[in-house]
Amino acid sequence: MEAAVAPARAVRVRGVTPRWALAAVAFLVLALLVGIVAGPVHIGVGDALRSVLAKLGVPGIDSPLSPTQESILWDLRVPRVMLAALVGGMLAIAGATYQGVFHNPLADPYLLGVAAGAGLGATLAIAYLPDALSGHQLLPVAAFVGGAAAVVIAYGIGRAAGRERDSATLVLAGVTVASFFTALQTFVQQRNTDTLQEVTAWILGSLPNTGWTDVRTLAPYVLVATTVIIGLRRVVDVLSLGDLEAESLGVHVRRVRLALVVAATVGTAAAVAVSGLIAFVGIIVPHAVRLVVGTSYRGLLPLSFVVGAGFLVLCDVIARTALSPAEVPIGVVTALFGAPAFALVLRTRGARA
């Protein structure tokens, strides 16, 4: 037996420390508040909060808002803010997952062709589905199917091609499928120039004002995807050691990678289906979190979700208020404001990475 053994508590996993968890949640709550008070009709923070508490059934508190304000708050702003949070959180955690699974810091949730496939699906729906057949409600379905199909094809090609360098082959297959689908999408778009603007708007990303419908559609996908990813977050750290070492530690690399990729892809496809192609969130949020917090995937994955959610809510506020009543595509805002913000993080914290 060993004489002196270091106390086991010396061995700790940073995971999500209370301090950072609190900071991330505070950021999200603040973003949500800004999100629900920002808009052409003035609703004060205090009033909005009291209305929220009243809705939550806190005894002794009545909403101070007029019925019109109530309706604006609960039928427009809250669902829109929730949608932004779900989409932002999903894209960020999916991006972090892809980065871990593929050992590639430049991986984003669109790596295996989700974006290109969804783009083709959406373009086909916009171009060929008659409005009479409620074509625009089928758009998310078409985008989801296209996105998922692209990844399935990429996975099929990648698996068939490489046994040895599995993850690199998969990424290459994803790039191949993405460029093929993009070419098809461009072709369809050129043949239907009358819908050009609509397609472009969808590709730049925008959150719809559809009340709770889209929130209800998206929430289950996000819930299942994040549950799987967060459940497997320790394994993502093992995968970051490389396929060979993960395998030598007894991990069934292909199986867990498939589970993670499926979860991240389904969640991303669902998010893309309602919001279009919002760039930048999936790649920049995880990196920003890592630069500031400096953590393993175990902490990075949940934190990315929370921070990504808050980030997209704030971007959406800018998107709908900057040129009000017109809306700036949210995909433009994420990059326009996200890039300088990330550059700042990189400058001030990059030395630590």
């Binding site: 053994v5 010396a10 061995v11 320790r234 530690l249």
Partner: protein
């Protein structure tokens, strides 16, 4: 019973046999050095033994055939230290060593007290307590090598395969790393199989040497019997002098006319 026994192990990669019909045994507690020129199949053989490359023939660990062991069961018996381990710069030493407990955890499980204790023991064993909270990106090459060994040790596998464990270390750190492995072999009862490039070090540390050439096992025996000037000329195409020392011998490169 042998810790590892290989029977007619053949590995094919890209339609080529990179390991051909290797038959050998490694006894418990033995240190076996796997030597041979570049491309002789050392890495492929180690990976096949670790179950990471498909092979024909049989590999048995403590009498149990490899394919009868589950993935995690196999990893509980055998650890592999690859030649260039990936050490993500953001992980702390503790976190990295704790990943060695993966064979004992189901995919959705978290580490428990026994896992943290095993990792703490392994950190203490390798004098890494001071570095426990440091991130891997801030370590020197020698420290990183120790951390990788600590992870393998936390795996609590009795067989450890090492692929050129000292490849990127200077001569002092090479000796420290090998001394450490030698001590661990005694205290933890490890069986070590290490692919080694430096033949003098192989002779000094290993009990037995297996010489591979073009995928075939061409010699198996005590260092003094295998590492002869003639054998090294034949299999490495090298001009060397084997020089007797008080406590063994050294293999030195010799300047001279190229071998015909």
């Amino acid at each position: 019973m042998s810790a590892i026994s290989l029977e007619e192990v053949t590995v094919r990669l890209g339609g080529r046999e990179v390991v051909c019909g290797v038959t050998a045994d490694v006894e418990e507690g033995e240190w076996v050095a796997l030597i041979g020129p570049n491309g002789a199949g050392k890495t492929s053989l180690l990976r096949a033994v670790a179950g990471l490359l498909p092979c024909s023939g049989t590999v048995s660990l403590h009498g149990t055939r490899l394919e009868e062991l589950g993935r995690r069961e196999r990893a509980q018996r055998l650890a592999l230290v690859p030649q260039e381990p990936r050490t993500p710069p953001w992980l702390t030493v503790s976190e990295y060593v704790l990943l060695g407990r993966t064979p004992y955890l189901r995919p959705l499980a978290r580490e428990g007290e026994p896992d943290r204790e095993a990792a703490a023991r392994s950190l203490a064993r390798l004098d890494l307590d001071e570095l426990a909270e440091r991130t891997l990106g801030t370590l020197s090459g020698g420290e990183r090598q120790r951390v990788v060994v600590a992870r393998a040790l936390a795996q609590e596998a009795s067989i450890v395969l090492l692929d050129e464990p000292t490849a990127s270390l200077d001569i002092g750190h090479q000796q420290q790393a090998l001394d450490l492995l030698d001590v661990l072999r005694d205290t933890e009862g490890l069986t070590l199989v290490a692919a080694m490039h430096d033949l003098t070090l192989a002779a000094q540390y290993a009990d037995r040497v297996l010489l591979l050439d073009a995928g075939r096992l061409v010699a198996d025996g005590a260092p003094a019997d295998v590492l002869t000037e003639e054998a090294l000329a034949r299999h490495y195409g090298a001009r060397v002098r084997v020089v007797a020392l008080d406590d063994g011998f050294a293999v030195l490169p010799a300047r001279g006319a190229p071998a015909a």
